[in-house]
């Protein structure tokens, strides 16, 4: 299917993502932050679809929005947040942090304006999305087999680590 009104959707989704991101780092209540982050993640999944990466979009929804964020919400509800809402929200070095981030932002701006030549000017259509999943699968289980196994090992370690951490006594 040919894309419809690409610029419109791009700007809409970008606005959603940025608004969500700003809310994440400014809300007092972590639950509100989490919901803003979910908005960002869903908008990003839609952007993946625009980039002809349907499988990554699906993984983004099922893993990030459906899995990781539920975990976040679960933990937020487990730790009582009433007291932390009343406390100071930003740490004492916040000024330094903002300055550092601004410097980094300046660096990005510099790179993107000076180095425009390095980037393609024209958005191009990728090949058929129809076999995206199949191609990804053959890459993942072929060329990247070893990395895949390492990733599963990482997950195993993470599971054991999380269980040990959450146990009654350490």
């Amino acid at each position: 299917m040919a894309p419809v009104a690409t610029p419109f959707f791009f700007y809409l989704l970008s606005a959603l993502m940025l608004a969500g991101g700003i809310l994440v780092i400014t809300r007092k209540n972590p639950v509100h932050s989490a919901l803003a982050l979910i908005t960002t993640l869903l908008a990003q999944a839609a952007i993946y679809l625009m980039l002809y990466a349907p499988f990554v979009a699906g993984v983004q929804i099922i893993l990030y929005a459906g899995g990781i964020m539920v975990l976040f919400l679960f933990v937020i509800m487990l730790v009582s947040i009433d007291r932390s809402i009343k406390e100071r929200q930003f740490n004492s070095q916040w000024l330094i942090g903002v300055v550092a981030a601004t410097a980094l932002g300046g660096l990005f701006i510099a790179v993107y304006t000076k180095g425009t030549d390095l980037f393609p000017g024209q958005a191009t259509l990728a090949a058929a999305e129809g076999d995206n999943t199949q191609r990804l699968a053959s890459l993942l289980y072929g060329q990247y087999m070893f990395s895949f196994e390492i990733a599963s090992l990482l997950l195993l370690v993470a599971i054991i680590g999380a269980v040990v951490m959450a146990k009654k006594r350490i």
Binding site: M1, A2, V4, N29, V31, H32, L35, I38, P54, F55, A57, G58, V59, I61, I62, A65, G66, G67, M69, V70, L71, L73, F74, M77, E129, G130, D131, N132, T133, Q134
Partner: protein
């Protein structure tokens, strides 16, 4: 004007879903049709659940509003819409407001890829089944939001239970689904598919519904999914999240009126959604029984009469009940109403006998009939089973269904490799 008409009619000849054809008008029509049909199905399900459950429990169920309580769901809907919409004083208003919409959104969006027929789906996605599982997993967010925003203990416990339950059963569910996707790859090219339509077509091509594939592997995978889907939709015997005897009503304790009805709507459409996944993956989707074994024009003719006949049967049932209505004048309006309902059903049945309609409606009929079977199972479970306890539920999910799912996955992969002659030890 001409071009508009041409744009609209250009789709009619194509053998694609409107989404794949990129025809916005027909996409819109299909969305309206699917969601309208879904709403009607939820209303019908509401009435049927109460009647069937009542008859299982030696009582009559709703009898007052309309003949045999047929108008009861409408009366209920009116009551819910007119009820005061309460928001607790200490609730988080925005999240409290947004939660039911989140749940409804997740439950309805899933239907975008449900294939009611080879071309009767809003769109066919390359990642169809992944999309369905992903989006339906979003409803847990809405439930958690509702439970947390109510700022009350019972909803909070309900939400925590529900999220833990849904996340755990999704894993077992995924295992069962992956084993089906492995089965779709048993063709010459050796490539499987995640597309919902592709999965049904693979069943047609392999001359076998996947529930019977590699017997009993397909059956066990189906069993795992059938258990997990009940847990996923928070229905009895896994309705811990809204266990009315423990948590009053679980995560929607503080909700009333319209918002509560949204949760209700979402629950039933989620039931229909997971049932249609099960039907698509294991029971051959829109395929009629024995499409290969009993092929040929004669059988084709025979099976094409079944939709109309079943509607005529329902109409006959209505007329029988009309004859049994009390003859007292007090019941006159009800009797006429029931007869009218029967007449409408009969008319629909007769329309379904007209040849073009007969051919056209086949797929949708078989798909709906299979989904309706699952709906009956849901009601049956509710009438029969006590409720599981939370730790038992978790134990079952992680210690029974997940290892079973893993075993099935490995075995299916092994058998599939063997069949493809790819097994070179």
């Amino acid at each position: 004007m001409q071009s508009v008409i041409q744009y609209i009619t250009s789709y009619l000849g194509s053998n694609q879903t409107p989404g794949a054809a990129g025809n916005l008008f027909w996409v819109f029509v299909y969305i309206m049709l699917v969601f309208g049909g879904l709403s009607v199905a939820v209303i019908a399900m509401n009435w049927l659940e109460r009647k069937i459950l009542a008859h299982m429990q030696v009582r009559l169920g709703p009898m007052r509003v309309g003949p045999h309580g047929l108008l009861q769901p409408i009366a209920d809907a009116l009551k819910l819409l007119l009820k005061e919409d309460l928001i607790p004083a200490d609730a988080d208003r925005v999240i409290f407001w947004a939660a039911p919409f989140m749940v409804v959104l997740a439950a309805f969006t899933v239907f975008v890829v449900v294939p009611f027929g080879p071309t009767h789906a809003i769109t066919d996605m390359n990642i169809g089944i992944l999309f369905m599982l992903g989006v339906s997993s979003l409803s847990v967010l809405g439930i958690v939001m509702a439970g947390w925003a109510s700022n009350s203990h019972y909803p909070l416990i309900g939400a925590l239970r529900s999220s833990a339950q849904m996340v755990s059963y999704e894993v077992a569910m995924g295992m069962a689904v992956v084993s089906v996707i492995l089965m779709t790859s048993l063709n010459a090219a050796g490539t499987g598919t995640l597309s919902m339509i592709g999965i049904v077509q693979a069943q047609l091509a392999q001359h076998e519904w996947f529930i019977f594939k590699f017997f009993p592997l397909g059956l066990i995978a189906f069993f795992i999914f059938a258990v997990a889907m009940v847990a996923e939709t928070n229905r009895a015997p896994f309705d811990l999240a809204e266990a009315e005897s423990e948590l009053t009503a679980g995560f929607h304790t503080e909700y009333s009126g319209f918002r509560w009805s949204l949760f209700f709507l979402a629950e039933y459409s989620a039931m229909i959604a997971v049932s249609s996944i099960a039907v698509t993956l294991w029971l051959g989707g829109w395929l009629r029984p024995f499409p290969n074994m009993l092929a040929g024009a004669g059988w084709e003719q025979f099976f094409s009469f079944i939709p109309g006949t079943s509607f005529l049967f329902l109409a006959a049932l209505c007329f029988y009940s009309t004859a049994r209505m009390p003859k007292h004048p007090y019941f006159r309006i009800q009797t006429i109403g029931l007869a009218g309902f029967g007449a409408v059903l009969g008319l629909v049945g007769l329309i379904l006998f007209i040849p073009p309609v007969r051919a056209w409606v086949q797929d949708i009929f078989w798909f709906s009939a299979k989904v309706a079977g699952f709906m009956y199972l849901y009601i049956w479970y509710r009438g029969t089973f006590p409720r599981y306890r939370f730790d038992q539920l978790m134990k079952m999910g992680w210690k029974v269904l997940l290892p079973m799912g893993l075993g099935i996955l490995i075995l299916t992969a092994g058998v599939a490799l063997y069949q493809q002659n790819l097994w070179h030890p």
